[in-house]
Amino acid sequence: MATSTDPEDRNLSQRIDAWLDEDMSPRRAIGVYLVLGLYFAFLLLPVVYMVLASFTSQSFLFSPELVPALGDLTLANYETVLSRGDFRTYFYNSMIVATSTTLLVLTVGILAGYSMSRFDYPGRGGLLYAFLSTQMLPIVLILIPFYILMFSLNLVDSLLGIVIAHSVIGIPLGTWLLKGYIDDIPESLDEAAKMDGCSHLSVLRRVIVPLAMPGIAVAGFYTFILSWNDYLLVSVLSQTAGTRTLPFGLQLFQSQNAVAWNLLITAAVITMAPVILLFAVAQRWVVEGLASGGMKGN
């Protein structure tokens, strides 16, 4: 016989009761959700409008209507934007630069974070503060010496140069973040793995990395956005269209006298999409949190 604890068998009000926290009255819940709803509407409405607008014509944008009719929707903007060879190049460049930067930052960050968390060596403390101090200066301040350095290394106007520049910003924070996550993984797990026959590297690969996934996801996501959105460093290091990235792509649709708003908005949506997709993928690990079920007494 089914009991009332069976989720299928409960009526709606019981389910709502179970869903709501026991301490929360329905009135309070409605209040909280109303405020949250307003907050997110405020944040999301412009984004929703932008996405909608990318499917409409320039003339609709200047009409007094806010919501387009189904018949007004068109893919023409996407066709125009994506058919431009320079925009596509910028998109590929952005993908290459952001992905390479993320991989490089994560590789260095995981190794450095693990070493700083687990090993004691001279200068470790100083190194940590040196990493932190790099975050204290605005990038603009180091832009000129950095350019001269990259120039002397023959890395100006190359994607590799941009990847290195973005990594220089990404690695210190990535390392700090990952060190913090790895610090939270009990050392007895490393020791158990060593007793089970692992070397330092296989401890890292089989125990630390899987358990630090939430941290790795956050560090990776942060780095990707940092690289994807960067305008300043690319504007200095990139000299030709062949090495520009997407933030420059938005400039293609405005001239001195006119702005093609529908195309600009469409390019903005295309620029935004990979970041949102990436978050959708990484979110699982970010939210999952560090599982700590196997540890007692720590």
Binding site: E191, G293, G294, G297
Partner: protein
Amino acid sequence: MGELEIRDLTKVFHDDGGDIVAVDDLDIEIEDGELIVLVGPSGCGKSTTLRCVAGLESPTDGDIVLDGTAVTDQKPKERDMAMVFQSYALYPHMSSRENMEFGLKMATDLPKDEIRSRVEETAEMLGISELLDKKPDELSGGQQQRVALGRAIVREPEVFLMDEPLSNLDAKLRTQMRTELQALQQDLGVTTLYVTHDQTEAMTMSDRIAVLNDGELQQFGTPLECYHEPENEFVAGFIGSPSMNFFDVELDTTGDRPALVHEGFRYDLEEDVYADIEGHGERFTLGIRPEDIELATADEPNAVTTTVEVTEPLGEVTYVYLEIGDRQYTATLEGDLVIETGRTLTIRFPQDRIHVFDGQTGEALRNRSRPDDEVVESLPGFQSSDSVEAGME
């Protein structure tokens, strides 16, 4: 074979505040299949010793020898030892099965089928077959404990190392697991080095106990040896609960008979006791276990008159806290005695039950006489091993 030898083991930690000697010249020989408990208060070096044996710490000096071969410089995975951690240290991202398989996968070349069947056999032995597909966070503390044990057992190592494996369990489960663990160890016959701060675990589980304090070995012997014949005041005080009563006394040889004088009483010594302590100075510590204190009449020799401060009736026995010379001492008396707080009680310390320690070094000069095997065999209901065999024939 699993003959383990700890030779002159010393471990010094270097700290900003100076060097800390965690283990000081420790020597222990463990026979194959023995269960040895390292016991001592927090910070006595027992866990450090275990970690040196495991290879998780490198000793400053000394050797770890397994079956005649020094393994001191070998990595943990090369030592053929398995460890159970206080925190269990189960990999949270793996199921119980994967946790148990992990060591076999990493350290051996066994084929997958073999690994699988070994894990399943071990799981069955431990009664955790139905937990194999669960992750550690879906298991209770006791179940995690069993999986952690399984992970060690499935490796079939020469030596088990256990670092306070029961300390995170509740009292009831701890008692149950203690018995199970002991039975399991006896069945498997694997040499086991077991660290605990709980002297009940040490007494009940071990073949021999190594009592450590401040990194130094205080005594290495069977549980009853450590209990009845402690080598020094530290062991006497550490083993046994409630712990032994100690009285600071001075030797007085001016009277008719030599006596130990405490501010609350005078204790005339018999000749054999005096012979044991003669020539060791004037200051001694007189020790007597709570259960060896007897009630007496005021006119008996060496009777001590005291005041009852607190009583703790446990049913079976009653702990009576007595004030002698401004300090509190414990006596364990029969449970059916009802003793009110504040009343005067006369007690005596039977001469064959006292311990006397050197007042300077703490070294035991005289221990109580051990319970006699003959006395035990003469008890009604006791059958010697011969008579059991005869009965079976």
